[in-house]
């Protein structure tokens, strides 16, 4: 029960957090994260993160929606039970466009939000940080840098020193 999850350092301003993130990143840590009440401009760069791949999920969703919509209408109105209405063609990309367009957006939106949740591994209601009392301030106005014990570079004394020298106002160990 009392296994250690990682080390939690609190910072009081976005600028201090960015500087700390830069130092942690330079020190070569890999299993670490910054937790903030709102996204901080420039933090992705400071942490050395790559562009988010959510767009691929949106694209796949949208593509499925468009082709699915077109195939559905073709199947229903011109293949499975074809009825001529007003002398118009049984299938045309024009009359089926509005519905296929809406389905593109619908599945694209589902792709974006489900892709985001999948990439973030959410929902996850049992995270060790959520049990920490100090960490509850993360959605209020405090900023945290967390380095996990599983990180190959992790050394309790050295890591603590790094976070403190980066200007942390509080540093504590988080239990699993």
């Amino acid at each position: 029960m009392s296994e250690k999850y990682g080390i939690l350092a609190q910072y009081d301003s976005p600028a201090a957090t960015i500087k700390a993130a830069e130092q942690v990143s330079e020190a070569g840590y890999s299993k670490w994260d910054v937790h903030t009440p709102f996204p901080i401009h420039g933090m992705d760069h400071a942490m050395g993160m790559k562009n988010s791949p959510v767009g691929w999920f949106t694209f796949l969703g949208g593509l499925t929606g468009y082709t699915g919509g077109m195939v559905m209408i073709w199947f229903m109105n011109s293949y499975h039970y074809d009825i001529v209405v007003g002398g118009k063609p049984l299938f045309s990309g024009f009359y089926s466009f509005p519905v296929a367009y809406e389905l593109t957006i619908l599945l694209g939106a589902f792709g974006s939000i489900l892709g985001m949740l999948f990439l973030n591994r959410l929902p996850r209601h049992h995270h060790p940080l959520l049990k920490n009392k100090r960490f509850a301030q993360v959605t209020h106005d405090k900023f945290f840098v967390v380095i996990e014990c599983d990180d190959p570079n992790y050394n309790e004394a050295k890591t603590r020193e790094l976070l403190e020298s980066a200007g942390a106002s509080q540093v504590e160990i988080v239990e699993e």
Partner: protein, 486 residues
């Protein structure tokens, strides 16, 4: 640090200093406290009064619908030749109102209009509830409500599928997509704020002594926590979150433009003079945004006072909304003029008659109410004195709502009541059931909106925090030291 701030502001010429989005240099912590206070505090008296009235009105709406379903569509004023009466007018009106919410949440986001953060949550809630009210009308307009599933892509008893050449079917897909995507977008925006409420409840739990208080706190923690999905504000999460938010904004923008375009196809694809015009899609979209901003202002102006949000939703926010109303209202005025010009220039006698009949026929009063509310009212927003007078803006915003309802009445009823042959003419008036159903949907809308105010953060907490100078790592208030701008 104080002197650094003063230096920076002293160096900037006065006319270049922007009015801050959050007044009085409120801190991020103050923002969470202030916005969550509405959810955490005691239910105010005004809320109970408003809720009781709204709930009873909503009850009236559903009893009228019950009466309609049991008796038949004859309880409405519909008859040949006006087969689309108030129900369709109300449908288009409610859908149009929703458009401002999506414009604020998606289009203003893409245009990097940071002031949207103070109002987007409430406006998106308005969108969702307005689309719910709108959805009621075509469903009950079917008459035999047990056949309402016919436009869904399900084969009927004879194995026949719905007919996708009809714009009515496009509308079903457009409106249901619009509703679903609006809910997704709204919920995604809520995730970090639900986490804020969850964490606050956890910190408050220790101070609660009474066992019942402890119990309700626990229930709330579980519920808010469940829907917060375990959000920890991780930057690795924020990165994907912000990208998904941008993509949803990018998807909602063509969506909102398409929804009212497709609603206008219900009319424009037909052959009826007054409906059969190519100007309809852009004209409907502009009108929708115009009416939606009218409704946003009607809701927000009292709300910012009642919920003590004056520092978050400032006079500048209201002023900016007035400017959007002025712009879209002018587009609508231009469209009215252009319709008349084309009716004359197009040379079709039926089209010309339809427009003469609009302005001077038996329904002349509806046309002139529409023109005075939609063309003249927004022009008053040229004056800063009026834009910054909250009472005046509130009253004018109600005129916008009235005017846009009459616009749909003009389009639906006046066009239908006299078409090509005089033997086919008639006069339409609503029955009391029509009127009470419409008034009732406002009660339904307000019921949902009041519940939203009481139980969910009415302002996007994390987004407003993000636009304060305290959140900017390059601003002295965000902890930056001099020469620190990297």
């Amino acid at each position: 640090m104080g002197s650094a701030i003063e230096n920076i502001y002293a160096e900037t010429p006065k006319e270049l200093v922007r009015e801050p989005l959050v007044a009085n240099q409120r801190s991020p912590g103050w923002l969470s406290d202030q916005i969550s206070a509405i959810i955490e505090g005691k239910t105010p008296r005004w809320w109970w009064i408003a809720f009781t009235i709204s709930f009873l009105t909503a009850g009236m709406c559903f009893s009228m619908i019950g009466y309609l379903v049991v008796t038949g569509i004859g309880v409405w004023g519909l008859n040949h030749p006006v087969m689309w009466g108030w129900a369709i007018v109300n449908f288009v009106w409610w859908i149009g109102i929703g458009h401002a919410g999506t414009l604020i949440s998606a289009i203003l986001f893409l245009l990097r209009q940071k002031w949207r953060t103070s109002i987007n949550r409430a406006a998106e809630a308005m969108t969702i509830f307005a689309v719910m009210c709108a959805g009621i009308f075509p469903a009950i307009h079917v008459g035999r409500i047990w056949f309402v599933w016919y436009p869904l892509p399900i084969p009927n008893a004879n194995d026949i599928w719905p007919q996708f050449r009809s714009p009515l079917l496009w509308d079903v897909f457009a409106v249901s997509t619009y509703f679903t995507v609006s809910v997704l977008f709204w919920y995604m925006g809520l995730i970090p704020d639900l986490a804020t409420i969850r964490d606050r409840l956890r910190l408050q739990a220790e101070k609660i002594k009474k066992p019942f208080g402890k119990f309700t706190n626990k229930i709330k923690q579980v519920l808010y926590g469940f829907f917060a999905l375990g959000w920890t504000g991780s930057n690795r999460h924020w990165s994907n979150y912000e990208k998904a938010y941008l993509l949803l904004a990018g998807l909602s923008t063509p969506l909102v433009l398409s929804v009212h375009s497709i609603v206008s196809f219900d009319f424009a694809v037909s052959q009826l003079p007054g409906w059969h015009t190519t100007i309809f899609p852009p004209y409907f979209v502009a009108g929708a945004v115009f009416s939606g901003f009218g409704m946003v202002m009607t809701l927000i102006i009292p709300l910012r006072v009642l919920c003590k949000m004056e520092d978050i939703i400032t006079v500048r926010h209201i002023e900016l909304m007035c400017k959007v109303t002025l712009a879209t209202g002018s587009i609508v005025g231009y469209a009215y003029a252009m319709e008349f010009f084309i009716a004359w220039y197009g040379g079709s006698p039926y089209e010309l008659y339809a427009f003469k009949n609009r302005a001077f026929g038996p329904y002349w009063w509806a046309y002139w109410i529409m023109v005075s509310c939609n063309v003249l009212t927004p022009q008053l927003f040229w004056f800063k004195k009026i834009r910054t007078n909250m009472m005046a803006v509130f009253i004018l915003s109600i005129f916008v709502n009235i005017g846009m309802w009459f616009e749909r009445f003009v389009i639906v009823v006046i066009s239908l009541h006299r078409d090509f042959l005089p033997s086919n003419w008639g006069y339409y008036s609503p029955t009391i059931v029509d009127i009470l159903t419409y008034v009732g949907t406002m009660g339904f809308f307000m019921t949902l909106f009041l519940l939203f105010i009481r139980f969910l953060p009415l302002v996007a907490i994390s987004e407003v925090k993000g636009v304060t100078p305290q959140a900017d790592p390059h601003d002295p208030l965000g902890g930056a030291e001099k020469g620190d701008a990297h």
